[in-house]
């Protein structure tokens, strides 16, 4: 689950990680009032969307007069913001964060992630702040410093020193002390809130020598939400695709893509591989949909409904390897969707595994128009033929 910048900063502020003074606004008149409370000029007006690349997409404005704060807010609110992560249609900006501007002396990058290969959390620190870390990693990997954390002992002060004394030119004692406490606090936030990512980029030292988190990115492990209930209110459904939101409600794992062949599959790996097969056959997948192992008839019907809500879909491929999910249950769900009058597109079905004969029988006895493929290779050919 992704948090907005202002939500993450709220957590930082309460956890001993210094942040600029700021206020969240959802209307232009609030923006004008905010300039009376927050010291400036300058002010920074920041669109609050989950997508990255806001700066380059025009979602972050530095302004010098109160009326400019209002204009910038008006410019952003309620309008789509296009960044390299959003796709051409962009995402609607519903909230704007107004902050005091600071005079930056130096910029750093600080984050915590789970390192998969070592199975440990890692803290990453770099003097190349304010840039994309992937770019730093590929061009100047020596500027990225990393400390792995043994969960049995936690974050140790010497690890902070390893990171901080690893940068050039060295810092004076004041910022060193603040950075050490920020790192310890960052580790505490990461572990107590079950984060999968916390990133501060840039972490700035101001001209007055203060260390301050100018940006904040935070994701929480969705598997840990059962014990992080107080974070649930940070979830912002407006940031999600409406079809994905609908799928979530029915415990279906659906991700919308750009193609024209809808796919319904059981199992995440097989669903990905089925998307790839569609592409190999010369078509483009319209979605990822894993109905899971324990899908019921009504979930299958819902799945078909969600696929069809995407108007770009020209054909549907159902690929089921029956195990716990039986082929007859799948077939009943598809037939029920057809009876509701939902399916008017070519349907290619490939069934295998548990109760496959019953499943085929149910499809055959319906008045549904469909193509049965004996294996995946044939299914792909049929799909390609239908959309070409």
């Amino acid at each position: 689950m992704k948090l907005h910048e202002y939500q993450a900063k709220d957590i930082f502020g309460k956890s001993g990680i210094p942040i600029p003074n700021g206020q969240l606004v959802t209307a232009v008149d609030q923006a004008t009032k905010a300039t009376q409370i927050i010291s400036g000029a300058p002010w920074v007006v920041k669109a609050q969307v989950h997508a990255g690349g806001r700066g380059k997409g025009g979602g972050v404005r530095v302004v010098h007069y109160p009326y400019e704060v209002a204009t910038a807010t008006e410019d952003l609110l309620g309008k789509p913001l296009v960044t390299k992560q959003t796709g051409p249609e962009g995402v609607i900006v519903n909230q704007v964060l107004i902050e005091e501007g600071v005079e930056i002396d130096r910029e750093f990058y600080l984050s915590m992630v789970i390192d998969r290969s070592s199975a440990m959390p890692a803290m990453i620190f770099s003097q190349a702040g304010g840039m994309e870390i992937e770019e730093v990693a590929s061009k100047t990997p020596e500027l990225i410093l990393k400390e792995y954390i043994d969960p049995a002992v936690g974050w140790m002060p010497h690890q902070a020193r390893n990171l901080i004394y690893g940068i050039k030119p060295p810092l004076s004692l004041g910022p060193v002390k603040t950075l050490m406490s920020i790192m310890a606090n960052l580790y505490r936030v990461f572990t107590t809130l079950d984060c999968s990512l916390v990133e501060i980029n840039p972490l700035a030292i101001t001209k007055e020598g203060k260390v301050i988190a100018l940006d904040a990115k935070m994701s929480v492990d969705p598997n840990a939400l059962f014990r992080q209930k107080e974070l649930l209110h940070f979830d912002d459904p407006r940031e999600k695709d409406p079809l994905e939101l609908m799928a979530e409600k029915y415990s279906l794992n659906y991700i919308r893509l750009d193609g024209n062949v809808g796919a319904m599959v059981n199992g995440a790996g097989l669903a990905m591989a089925t998307m790839d097969v569609i592409k190999m056959a010369g078509a483009e997948p319209a979605n990822f949909l894993d109905v899971g192992g324990g899908a019921s008839e009504s979930m299958i019907t819902k799945g078909v409904e969600i696929i069809l809500k995407d108007r770009r879909v020209k054909a549907i491929l159902v690929n089921i390897f029956g195990g716990i999910l039986r082929c007859d249950v799948l077939a009943r769900g598809v037939v029920a969707a057809a009876k509701k009058g939902m399916i008017r597109l070519p349907l290619i079905v490939r069934l295998k595994g548990t109760n496959v004969e019953e499943g085929r029988e149910i499809l055959r006895n319906s008045d549904l128009q469909f193509f049965v493929a004996k294996d995946l290779a044939e299914a792909a050919e049929l799909v390609a033929k239908q959309v070409s």
Binding site: D194, P222, N223, G269, M280, F321, E378
Partner: protein
């Protein structure tokens, strides 16, 4: 021969009284697996499918001499179940549970570092040595005893591959689902090392997917140390970056984990990569025919 589990495995099912636990206990017994005990705290003394249930794993070890565990415990309690099994000295622990918090797995991985227990999963279908035993949830009848090993990060995708292998007459020595989570007990390399020493295993099918760098690491190992033919498949060539494709670990992030990079690394290691899942059985037959 097979690796890790065989007809001598005495299995304990942790979480045996739950819906999934009971259902799969029945299927495992039908396949021929020796399910010697079950554990559910508070349900000790009961029986499920004629299998005695204990309150603690320690009791199950003492009374029934179990040596392999299969875990169906719900996510909030699964890390404890794994550590309980390792503490009781079980040699092989298979964790089926999906949805364990990653930081719980960080602790588990750290605890297991100096233990002899082998953890398979979590978030996996389990392990099967066809004709001998199955510890997990895979459909038994699609398997056939033979010389192919299968190592996979996925569930149904593995069944698809096994079905194709059986279809072209290539039986399997042992098939393992290593799990779809970011942190798993054993990786491709761990299992490759065991398959290298297994005389029954003539070749390996490695099924990877987007996310992480486990396939790249496996490719480097195979190039240097592995002496049997390997056929690989990578799912997710069409997956968009930044999105979690069902499995918690299947995500392209920070420029890492792309299918393309994995395929390149595998091919550079001299491994045959099957690009189209529909042809996997045929590809394996060609590669094994040549060797």
């Amino acid at each position: 021969m097979s690796i890790l589990v065989d007809e001598n495995s005495r299995v304990v099912v942790q979480g045996i009284t739950g819906r999934e636990g009971t259902f799969h206990t029945k299927l495992m017994i039908e396949y021929g697996t020796v399910v010697a005990a079950g554990v559910t705290p508070g349900k000790g003394g009961k029986k499920v499918e004629d299998v005695p249930v204990f309150n603690t794993l320690k009791d199950a070890v003492d009374k029934e001499g179990v040596n392999v565990s299969c875990i169906f415990v719900p996510p909030p309690f699964a890390a404890d179940a794994i550590i309980e099994a390792a503490s009781a000295g079980l040699k092989v622990i298979v964790c089926i549970t999906e949805g364990i918090p990653t930081l719980d797995m960080v602790k588990v991985a750290s605890f297991l570092k100096d233990k002899d227990s082998v953890l398979i999963g979590p978030n996996c279908p389990g392990i099967i040595s066809p004709g001998k035993t199955k510890v997990g949830i895979m459909p038994g009848p699609i398997h056939m005893q033979g010389g192919m090993a299968v190592i996979s990060r996925s569930g149904t995708l593995t069944y698809e591959v096994v079905d194709q292998l059986t279809g072209v007459g290539l039986g399997q020595s042992t098939c393992i689902g290593i799990g779809g989570d970011p942190i798993i007990g054993t990786t491709f390399i761990d299992h490759l090392k065991w398959f290298k020493e297994d005389p029954e295993t003539k070749g390996v099918v490695l099924i990877g997917e987007i996310g992480g760098t486990a396939e790249e690491e496996a490719a480097a190992y195979i190039r240097k140390e592995f002496n049997k033919p390997v056929i690989a498949f990578i799912a997710g060539q069409t997956a968009p970056p930044g999105r979690r494709m069902g499995h918690a670990g299947a995500i392209i992030s920070g420029g890492q984990g792309r299918a393309e990079d994995k395929i390149n690394a595998l091919e550079a290691g001299g491994i045959t990569v099957c690009m189209n899942l529909g042809n996997l059985g045929q590809t394996a037959l060609e590669v094994m025919g040549k060797s």
